[in-house]
Amino acid sequence: MAAHADTCLLTQTQLLDLSFMEHRAHLLAIAAFLDRLERAQGAAGAPQDFRLEALRSALHELTSPEPGRVVRAQMRLSDQNLELLDLRDSQSAFGASRRPHEQQEAEQ
């Protein structure tokens, strides 16, 4: 049984009726963004961009049969190394950790 079973008050059909179109649009927006990246000028370096790698990694969670997809996707986009930075490296966040997860896991 799924975690937190029956906590959503709507039936699955009601939820699909209410939200399917919106999420269909979100899916196509991501697909179009990935296509657009390939068409963009100077795209040679994009496949190695840490944000794109993290995004592609998180996308795997969308096809997972297990509940908890959003948490696992967020964790793939998170810096999981709890060590404090010695100094602030930037004011704003990037949306994904610059350290690959394999490196983070090796550091822990």
Binding site: S78, D79, L85, Q91, A93
Partner: protein
């Protein structure tokens, strides 16, 4: 439905937003201190800012029948500067006695550095010294899990902290459980792009309960929506939640948390005279 927006940076919003919020049922806002878009150069800039938050802004809100309360601090984005921190910490106490100041906030971490943590802990000490409620910012995006974990662990290790007097804001699915498990109040801020949507906030309430959860707009000068709570109410109704459940989240829970400050007066929709 009447509601309280626990986190709204109204200093960066137009008066039209107060108008729209009043029309949609907003009874009160609480405004945490925040970053103006550039690091401030000295404590005098903060003195001006704290004065603005405690004089002009309550008067502007009052014209629309909205009560305005403030939280004071040096924002996490400026927490790296330890000398600035020491200067600002010295001037905060003179503003804490103002009638609309509810506590210290939004303190927290940004990039999770050693200096930011020291600044965060300095603010916690100030709050304890002056018996203030605490409003905590958690970092955005890739730093959220790490920053939340570091602060929750630090607070949990301090026996002087009463978790029920602390609200940890900007929670998302990967941090909400750890915040609730330690007894803190949990804020879900609703953003059009970068944080939780109304639908995701309702997901979290369905999964974790509504006992210590609050939603807020967190509206500021970036892409944000001052009517995010009415959007939440609309979405919660579409999802089949009762008026009683929704009212608890948008009005009663904020009143329970804020009511721990003797300065907080439960707001009503009675006419108010403008006092500019």
């Amino acid at each position: 439905m009447n509601y309280i927006d626990m986190h709204a940076h109204m200093v960066s919003r137009t008066t039209d937003d107060y108008h729209a919020m009043a029309l949609s049922g907003c009874l009160a806002v609480t405004e945490p201190a925040f970053w103006s878009g550039r690091d401030r150069l000295g404590s005098e800039a903060f003195a001006d800012y704290f004065d603005h938050l405690t004089t002009f802004e309550p008067a502007r809100a009052r014209e629309y029948g909205i009560a305005h309360y403030a939280w004071l601090c040096l924002n996490p984005k400026e927490g790296e500067d330890r000398e600035l921190t020491r200067q600002v910490l010295r001037i905060i106490p003179e503003f804490l006695s103002r009638p609309t100041v509810l506590g210290i906030g939004e303190i927290g971490l940004n990039r999770v550095t050693r200096n930011e943590l020291a600044t965060f802990l300095d603010h916690v000490e100030l709050a304890l010294e002056h018996q203030q409620l605490i409003h905590i910012h958690t970092p955005h995006l890739e730093d959220k899990y790490k920053g939340t974990r570091v602060m929750v662990d630090a607070l949990a290790a301090d026996g002087r902290i009463e978790p029920g007097r602390v609200m940890i804001d900007h929670a998302e699915e990967h941090t909400v459980q750890m915040i609730l498990d330690h007894g803190f109040w949990t804020g879900l801020t609703l953003y059009p792009k970068t944080k939780a949507s109304p639908a995701r906030a309702i997901d979290m309430i369905e999964m974790y309960g509504s006992e210590r959860l609050i939603v807020a707009s967190a509206c500021d000068w970036g892409p944000s929506q001052p009517l995010a709570i009415p959007e939440f109410i609309f979405e919660a109704r579409r999802r089949g939640h009762t008026e009683a459940t929704i009212r608890k989240i948008v009005l009663e829970n904020p009143q329970r948390f804020l009511g721990q400050s003797p300065k907080f007066v439960p707001p009503t929709r009675e006419p108010r005279l403008a006092q500019v």
